[in-house]
């Protein structure tokens, strides 16, 4: 069953003007339920744009996006996805628990139900004792776990993440990757994950989508076969390194083109 279907989607900014940017051209992507898919590529390859098309925060110039068998707009209204960004983006004036309740409040849930769900989510991210603290009293990694709890509070079938661990140190980052896999496994959530890091993409994903800039497009889709149970030993496995090499080579292609594109621009 497909949780997400992007068909022939393009996004052109400032169309027809001198400042026209082809952020995405003819992108096709299908993600099945329960899959973990990473989008990776150099800056300007349109990976964040693609994520925002899926989230319906941007409208495609052409093509269609369907989430959970609905139009992206309907899926957003129904809160069929949760979202997490590089900055945890928790509200300073709300306690940890109230931050997790935010999407439920917007959906009109009553207080008792909200509090019960927030408690459940705090158990899930293993921070139950922090319910009544304020976000600025927590470390960066803890804040990001709360942001994930918030994104998953309404039990959406799809989780969209835009470089969520980009601001964390390496140790915290690896710990968070393990936690994310555990949480998504327990909740059977489908994930689309934007990242700059090759090992991160490989460790987390069933599929790594490699993108390239000018115009933004998908250049390779690499299946990662590391089994469904991944742990710290996975990071030392041969398959892990092989997949990293494959992704790296696919990315190098995009960088060569990137360089060529720059050279042409230089001649202009």
């Amino acid at each position: 069953m497909s949780a997400l279907e992007v068909v022939g989607a393009s996004k052109i900014f400032n169309q027809g003007t001198a400042k026209q940017v082809d952020a995405l051209v003819d992108v096709n992507l299908t993600v099945n339920s329960g899959q973990f898919v990473s989008l990776i590529g150099p800056s300007g390859c349109g990976k964040s744009t693609l994520l925002r098309l899926i989230a319906n925060l941007l409208e495609p110039t052409s093509g269609s996006v369907r989430v959970n068998k609905k139009t992206a707009a309907q899926a957003r209204l129904d809160q069929d996805y949760g979202m997490a960004f590089q900055q945890a983006g928790l509200f300073d004036w709300r306690t940890v628990s109230k931050n997790i309740e935010l999407p439920l409040e917007l959906k009109g849930w009553d207080k008792a139900k909200r509090e019960a769900r927030a408690k459940e989510m705090l158990e899930l991210v293993k921070l139950p004792e922090f319910a009544d603290l304020y976000p600025w009293q927590l470390s960066g990694g803890m804040q990001q776990r709360i942001a994930i709890a918030r994104a998953l509070a309404a039990h959406p079938p799809l989780l969209l993440m835009d470089e969520p661990f980009g601001a964390l140190d390496e140790m915290t980052r690896e710990y968070m990757q393990g936690e994310l896999l555990r949480i998504c496994g327990e909740t059977a959530t489908t994930v689309v994950f934007v990242t700059h890091s090759i090992p991160e993409a490989v460790y987390l994903s069933n599929r790594v989508v490699v993108m390239s800039p000018r115009p933004g497009r998908i250049t390779a889709v690499i299946d990662v076969d590391l089994g469904s149970k991944r742990n710290e030993d996975t990071r030392a496995a041969d398959g892990f390194f092989r997949s990293i090499t494959t992704v790296r080579e696919a990315l190098r292609g995009t960088h060569a083109e990137h360089a060529a594109a720059n050279a042409i621009r230089g001649v202009e």
């Binding site: 989230a55 925060l57 957003r76 209204l77 809160q79 996805y81 979202m83 960004f85 900055q87 983006g89 509200f91 300073d92 004036w93 709300r94 306690t95 935010l102 999407p103 409040e105 917007l106 959906k107 304020y134 600025w136």
Partner: protein, 289 residues
């Protein structure tokens, strides 16, 4: 708690230093003022221009006019309370209008572009020129059985000075919500109203509190100036003007009213500071400066 103790002790020290400076100047300053290149620069240190601090304070316990039973402290106190009521009305109206305008301007960029220049210009109109106008407009106003009381004109002039910093501060505050947070709310398909109340207003609080402080002192200045220029009876502004006329015979008298006005300003900003403490108690400490 220690911070409060420190701050209140600093307050006492600050007042004591001003008193000390005042009395020091009375000892060393020239009795009839000092001239520099023919221009009077140094104030007169004599008892008519600068009464001793204890003369001013003891004046509070003497009758307002010779032979009267009413002590001056009760006159100044009731005048200050009268002006405080007017300032509160002015501040309340100013807050309503200021916050309302800010919401309107943040909702519609067209309104912001069209209105903001006029708001800025409005503040360049001298209050003294405006006061008689407001009084005469108010006098002509009749809405059903509502009769415009004279004191309301003074409050309106307080409003006039209070609304501007509140509107500008709130507008900046509403716009200060990070783009990522707005995007997050959009991803939840939150309505404009939900975004306003759950994100923009809470994010605006650190900008609104200082704006309220400016607005509160604006309301006091507006009311006192309006009392003076429209001759409204009962307030501290009128007392200052009346007592100033007796400055030669009873120099300490006018200072009793001036201190009343100062107490009024401190009370108003104290009320706002209280809201600051309440609203900011759960915020990160760096931003609560």
């Amino acid at each position: 708690m220690r911070r409060i103790a420190y701050r209140s002790s600093m307050f006492v020290v600050a007042i004591a230093s001003v008193v000390a400076l005042w009395e020091f100047y009375k000892i060393v300053g020239p009795q009839d003022g000092g001239k520099l290149f023919g221009v009077s620069i140094l104030p007169r240190a004599n008892n008519t221009a600068m009464p001793h601090v204890w003369t001013m304070l003891s004046r509070y316990n003497r009758p307002e006019v010779r032979g009267s039973d009413t002590k001056i402290w009760s006159v100044v106190l009731s005048g200050t309370l009268f002006s405080l009521r007017l300032s509160l009305v002015g501040f309340f109206l100013g807050t309503t209008i200021g916050v309302g305008l800010a919401v309107l301007m943040s909702r519609f960029k067209v309104v912001q572009r069209g209105l903001l220049p006029y708001l800025v210009m409005s503040q360049t109109v001298p209050l003294i020129a405006l006061a008689p106008l407001v009084v005469s407009w108010g006098g002509k106003l009749e809405i059903g059985s509502f009769v415009w009381p004279r004191w309301l004109s003074a409050s309106i002039l307080g409003t006039f000075l209070a609304f501007f910093p509140i509107a500008v501060g709130t507008l900046r505050g509403l716009a200060s919500a990070p783009a990522a947070a707005v995007e997050l709310m959009d991803s939840y398909a939150a309505s404009w109203k939900q975004i306003l109340f759950k994100l923009r207003f809470p994010a605006a609080v650190p900008f609104m509190v200082p704006a309220f402080k400016l607005g509160a002192s604006g309301a006091v200045v507006g009311v006192v100036v309006a009392e003076i220029s429209t001759g409204l009876k009962g307030g501290i502004g009128r007392l200052i003007i009346e007592y100033a006329r007796e400055a030669t015979g009873d120099p300490a008298k006018v200072f009793t009213a001036v201190f009343g006005a100062a107490a009024l300003g401190i009370t108003m900003s104290g009320l706002v500071a209280l809201s600051d403490v309440l609203l900011m108690r759960n915020r990160p400490k760096e931003t609560s400066a």
